[in-house]
Amino acid sequence: MPTDHDRSNIDIAHLRAQHRLMWRIRALEQAALRGLDDKVVLGAIHPSIGQEAVAAGVVGSLRADDILLSTHRGHGHTLAKGASSEAMLRELLGRVGGNCGGKGGSMHIADFRVGMLGANGVVGANIVIAAGAAHAIKLKGEDKVVCCIFGDGAINRGPFLEGLNWAAVFKLPVLFVCEDNGFAATTRTSSMTAGGGPAVRARAIGLPAEEVDGNDILAVEATARAMIAAVRAGEGPRFLHAKTYRLTGHTGVDTAPYRPADELAARRKEEPILRAADLLRAAGVPESEILADQSVAEAEMDAAYRAAFDAPFPGPEEAFRDVQDIGDPAEGAF
């Protein structure tokens, strides 16, 4: 599989688009963090700042009708799949017009219109659900691909084994992506994970697996594209281990005192947007255009944030809607 992409022959227009997408993701999350300060984002936020190349490289390589499942740290994935930034910010602020009508929030963000079947508040739970989504695709004879992204912490939960085995036994069209940011909440994942890591485990369960520098947008994309093609060709599930680094704390309020400052400083230098900008610069893209990508993204998210801020809350009647068809949720109570 071509992880060793030819850097002398880069599609600059495409890289530029990826650079823009990564900035949109980062600006979206910065707006979400601003929402915390403004006390309008009331639930937990798990930023993916520093991990944007995984969202852009993997999710950006999916077809519009492909399916995505994500985690609690899923803003980037969701935006990359095509969700509207304003709808997302409305959801994060719990407002009308949010992707889930304000009922899900950050940890349950989903946009079925663009094939995004949900973030998940339970670590690892998306893995078996993704296997099942792929199972349905196979049963229906479609050529869609399911992409399931989870963290390095999820590989220690049972559903990792059960879901990968399921996908391999039934030869299902699913790409599993372990977005490895080094931490599970406040714990270094390596301290609680035995053996050779995600790819080694996946191979032991019969899935071809690759490791990739998750901060290198070109590497991520090249590997993801090849794997998605194999999956779509009916070759069965594939596994991608993308190594990246979480530049923020676990949540928007976690200052991450458990990690040395110099570690963070060193890692900041390797973050994916800077590296993409360097590539653009090297290819002759003027600084002004590189900066414009940031400012355009920030302007988009600023406007979206303001719209969300001004949007109304859903009414209390929403508490009783979409529970189920059968039976009245208010029966017995109140």
Partner: protein, 320 residues
Amino acid sequence: MARISYMEAARSALAEEMRRDRLVWAVGEDLGRGGVFGQYKGLVEEFGPERISDAPISEAAILGASVGAAMMGTRPVVEMRFSDFALCAVDELVNQAAKARFMFGGQTRVPMVVREPIGMWRSSAAQHSQSLESWYAHIPGLVVACPSTPADNKGLLKSAIRCDDPVVYMEHKNLWPLEGEVPDGEHLVPFGVARTVREGRDITIVSWSAQVHVCERAAETLAGQGIGVDLIDLRTLWPWDRAAVLASASRTGRLLIAHEAVQVGGFGAEIAATVAETLGVKVRRLGAPRAPIGYAPPVEDAVRITEAMTVAAVRDMLGR
């Protein structure tokens, strides 16, 4: 009408629905060889191994994959073998299947049937005998069905398969061989409509699943003693037929609820509380002690709600 078993009724319901809708499929361990109780026998021959699918021993994946498959527009019928093993997949059922529609603001539905056989079955002991229907009745988003007759096992299973909500479908292991008249073809039993098993004016008994048959025998005995029992088979616990129960209880003025499950925190409490809140009539429950189920027959029998106990409870409530 044909006289068939509870097991055969379920099998024909599934076969009919699979013929009607090619998006219906079943998945679970050993289904290809008919399932652990034979309730899938012959189906793989008709529908093939993709639609009557074996599964690895991985309840979390069986249930979780079915959630994904349901969100993608298929209708999985999920076999959990014993309700006890479904405890290996509670996150998938309660945090995922039951909540997806709500959390995602109505963007999706999770049409799946989770078959969880319940109840005591001679000497199956603590990990193969539980009746946990009250758990699922407590969880928003879930429908709970507990059929007691072959006809209902056909009609409710068909309704469950067509339902867009996730349904926890609890067959009773002791009922598999029970025979009864079952309407042919399109026989659908709606959720939330109780069945009046027999009428009487002295007391109302509400029950479900295998316990209905124990109550029926008790009612027979009581009839011989001049006591008329209005016996209601609830059939589904969510939704449950409040109207039927309240109407009967207000007629008779006395309500006994009998179930095989542990009494403390059992669904009988919900019914008793509702009726007490609403009518102020005499209520009483008859449920199992709060003890695991033992292996040795006398130990197992000691937590069984019997006909004699039912008769005694009724007589006591009537003061005769």
